[in-house]
Symmetry: C2
Subunit: 210 residues, 2 copies
């Protein structure tokens, strides 16, 4: 198909498509004449992935490039690929990481991961994000909130199992990455909203207590 059709099929304006090609996010079309390129269904799928990562995931062009490089690296096992996607989706904490609260929080994260037998590196980006949250609690005098950690971890295991079941139905690497990216980002928003609704329900039931 021509670039105009690719644009109307995906809703992505022609200049934006050309920008993605220049930035290396989208392979160039095959030249059918000196100033006309032809695009395939694979371009349409790739554009849909870019749009999902950008609009739903809020990823930068640089982060999208990392993800796409991983998708295209056929030697990369799928779970490493998913690790790359997840890393781009967890914002870096940007916190001072050398204070006493963070050091203590890291040992807590490592213990939690070991106790649960999770096959992950506790120093990965998600582990650091958790340590950063625990350190913030401690700094503001709310270290007590850690008592909910095990309940949260149980709930996270159930949610992750549902996420995996959803992702396992994907056909091919590109579809899988898109499912994981969309599920991860929209999933966070969905869960936060559901938690708020369930809190309000529990609070209304408890009436004027405590």
């Amino acid at each position: 198909m021509r670039i105009g059709e690719l644009s109307s099929r995906t809703g992505v304006p022609v200049p934006t498509i050309k920008y993605y090609v220049r930035e290396g996010l989208l392979p160039p079309g095959e030249l059918s004449s000196p100033n006309q390129a032809s695009y395939e269904d694979s371009h349409e799928r790739r554009l849909r992935l870019i749009r999902a990562l950008l609009e739903v995931g809020g990823l930068s062009v640089a982060a999208i490039r990392e993800v796409i490089t991983a998708v295209d690296d056929k030697d990369k096992p799928v779970h490493k690929l998913l690790g790359t996607v997840a890393d781009q989706l967890v914002p870096s904490t940007g916190r001072d990481e050398s204070d006493a609260e963070t050091a203590l929080a890291r040992t807590k994260v490592a213990r939690l991961v070991a106790d649960r037998g999770w096959a992950v590196n506790p120093g990965c980006r998600a582990g650091e994000a958790l340590a950063s949250a625990l350190a913030a609690l401690s700094r503001t005098g709310h270290g007590r909130f850690e008592e909910v950690l095990e309940t949260y971890a149980d709930a996270a295991e159930r949610v992750a199992a549902a996420d995996m079941a959803f992702a396992s139905r994907a056909s091919g690497r590109e579809d899988l990455v898109e499912s994981v990216a969309v599920g991860t980002v929209v999933g966070d928003t969905m869960f936060a909203a559901l938690r708020r609704l369930a809190q309000e329900d529990a609070s209304a039931r408890a009436g004027a207590t405590p």
Copy 2:
């Protein structure tokens, strides 16, 4: 105590304390002489609340004022107070709310709330945030992800019960609000990080499949 001691106890600079008084977030101290005011323990607690809402919750001064007005309104039942806090913590979606996807998503949220018997208004801010997430899924061609909704809602109920158990140990309205605000905001971050760790674990176990 004098303003200098209040500042050193809380780590909030004197000009910032004066700014909070001008903005109506903190009651003025009692004048002990024409240019000297005296502050109580209640001022220290209030400053700690403001700091938690600001630094951990990322709330604006206007949002903090709403919360504090609700705390000070002693006629307001506790669950209404918590509703006010929760509302300030859920960012408004800012989406176009009149499209077909959103209309359909709203009916799904209303059905979920009814099926679960949650004593909440599905049109509240959290309900709108959920509808907005579902509409985004549908718009990007990932409506299928809705299959995880019931698992998410189950997990959210467990997490909310742990949140409530934590909050129920608060002493007094101000401590309660602070617990809820901190728990809600840090809780979102904690849960998202735990979900990511559990996903990576599940993915590593599944090996190179699918």
